[in-house]
Subunit: 366 residues, 2 copies
């Protein structure tokens, strides 16, 4: 029996995708092996890889002047890779809006002096406890920067940039960590210099990192950059400078196909808006719960919330798990609860959670 899985990542996958994987697990399309048992450079896997890229390009309308890379190492390796590939002795701006952009900023600060160049804090909302986005007037952007880095959805703090207009106006290449909301809604790829995302939210299994990068940014990395981390080298080798995570690319391709059949990111966005609205409405209505994020910055994907009486936390977790609503415990950095509402989480899961919140509130005082 499948439960409703609110994990922030690795996260629930579409059941239809898991069933297809199971179906073709021992003998993929009659080749007599699993697709994870064959060479990444062979005809069969290359077709899988190429189809995954083509589907992702269609889903996000990625222009031809952007390369699509399927890498390893997670977003955290990208924190350093971005610096090594793009800084080039210049200065880069970082906008800090939560735990993940702060990690990216700190890694850049640490690595930049060694590869040459500087890192600036262009804005931070830490004083608010990361419950809001910076006002356009608070963005202290350097028009000469090599790039400006932003995390467009903060998985831990539940803050999402629903409009990126203030950043578009900067005129410098935007580097965006979109790990936890890529594919949840349409984006304007041509507005970005580089987009990266760990796969284990809306894309597929952990162990894959998607990088979408404007080709003019591919050349001229810091010459000490490890080969595997050089975007240009990976692009020239179709992301196969060495053996990639073939399983994760294969499953991601199936997730992309599933999403295309559902109508693509515009269609899923409507579902995601509805799911998020239902949950935030319940949290706002029931005095037992609270979400502290500014309404216009609330993430559709990751909804952290608290019980005002924290003594009820253990009971809430035990009873929700009993009701088949799993992995609602919040990240240790912020405590409380968190519901992640990724594409693959069925709307019925949110309905069940909302019903549970009402039920729980009814039993424990409003």
């Amino acid at each position: 029996m499948r439960v409703f899985n609110f994990s922030a990542g690795p996260a629930t996958l579409p059941e239809a995708v898991l069933r297809q994987v199971r179906e073709e697990w021992l003998d993929w399309r009659g080749i007599g092996s699993s697709i994870i048992e064959v060479s990444h450079r062979g005809r069969d896997f290359m077709a899988v890889r190429d189809e995954a890229e083509a589907r992702l390009r269609r889903l996000l309308a990625i222009p031809e002047e952007y390369a699509v890379l399927f890498l390893q190492g997670g977003a955290t390796l990208q924190f350093a890779a971005v610096v090594m590939n793009l800084l080039r002795g210049r200065s880069a701006d970082y906008v800090v809006t939560g735990a993940w952009s702060q990690k990216a900023y700190r890694e850049a600060m640490r690595v930049a002096p060694f590869v040459g160049g500087r890192v600036r804090l262009a804005a931070s909302t830490e004083e608010s406890g990361f419950t809001r986005l910076p006002l356009p007037t608070e963005l202290n952007l350097d028009p000469q920067a090599a790039y400006v880095h932003v995390c467009t959805n903060e998985t831990i703090h539940g803050v999402e940039w629903l409009s990126l207009e203030p950043l578009y106006e900067s005129g410098v290449p935007i580097v965006a960590d979109m790990s936890s909301h890529l594919l949840s809604r349409p984006i304007e790829v041509h507005r970005f210099g580089l987009i990266y995302a760990g796969a284990q939210k809306n894309i597929g299994p952990a162990g894959l990192t998607v990088v979408i990068v404007r080709r003019d940014l591919l050349s001229d990395p810091w010459p000490g950059t490890p080969a595997v981390m050089q975007y240009g080298l990976q692009e020239a080798n179709q992301s196969m400078l060495n053996t990639p995570s073939t399983f994760a690319i294969y499953v991601a391709g199936l997730v992309f196909a599933w999403l295309e059949e559902l109508g693509g990111v515009s269609a899923i966005e409507q579902v995601n808006i509805r799911k998020a609205h239902k949950l935030y409405a319940a949290l706002d209505r029931l005095p037992l719960f609270e979400n502290r994020v500014d309404r216009e910055a609330r993430s559709r994907m990751n909804v952290p919330f608290r019980l005002r009486d924290e003594r009820l936390n253990e009971r809430f977790l035990a009873e929700s798990e009993e009701a088949g609503l799993k992995y609602l415990k919040g990240h240790k950095m912020v405590g409380g609860m968190r519901a992640s509402l990724y594409n693959a989480l069925p709307e019925e899961a949110v309905d069940a959670l909302v019903a549970f919140l009402h039920d729980f509130a009814g039993r424990y005082g409003g």
Copy 2:
């Protein structure tokens, strides 16, 4: 119908392991999700990770003073990581015996000047076409070196160090790329400073890199090393500085369990010796084929061979595939054929290949 899969990697996996994965794919041990859909930091996956490490430690008798890391990025990222973590302004020796140790050497040469330190070529067998190992007298080892790097099994050239005595005598930490033969036979871990291996041969699916490193080598990396690549930081975080490839760790754990049930690496070594002997004996007996590697350096895992009449190559590949013997085409760097005989390849596959070689030779002239 499963075929006999001689792929060099990603390679065939034990069918029993694939069946177990399929069995628990939608609902792992009653949790209501796949094990790849839950947090890497949660109780369930941590137990999977811990059990995988414990089994690997038992299989290879890894002493407590060695850390075991489950990383991403493949052996190729380790080529740079070794330099960044261990060089520390000193000099390192590289022994080049084939394509993979040459890649490691070239990456080290490229990266070393930027992180500080030097790289020396301690020996190369390139003049032989990488068909032999260096004689002990050809090893020009620096007793002051930070480490000496060796690839103990060359996947492309089919050269294996069956005895490492000449290296043990160097007295400096040995760093060994064991990607394509780790777990195929017992090793003396305490003789090494660091062992690394891409998983996609004898360990599990692609997307996982195992690093076994003596704890005294963990501290003091080059300070610009990306966080994900710092051994000490990964060790302090149980290889979970960020989200690891949970699927690959899970499957590797099942492979380790399968190997323990078979009797461990000593037991599988006997099978591997038998498998390799059968194939080399046929290649030596039949004038149609040849393997050019020195007998005492022939790999048990990767057997490159040629048809003396290369005009028969296409016919050989077509007919062997027809006979259910797949992925025998050699690496483009050396041409010809290659049969990889990893742990998970059943002995019957080798018997079938040997029978096919005899049959083919009978039909095409000796």
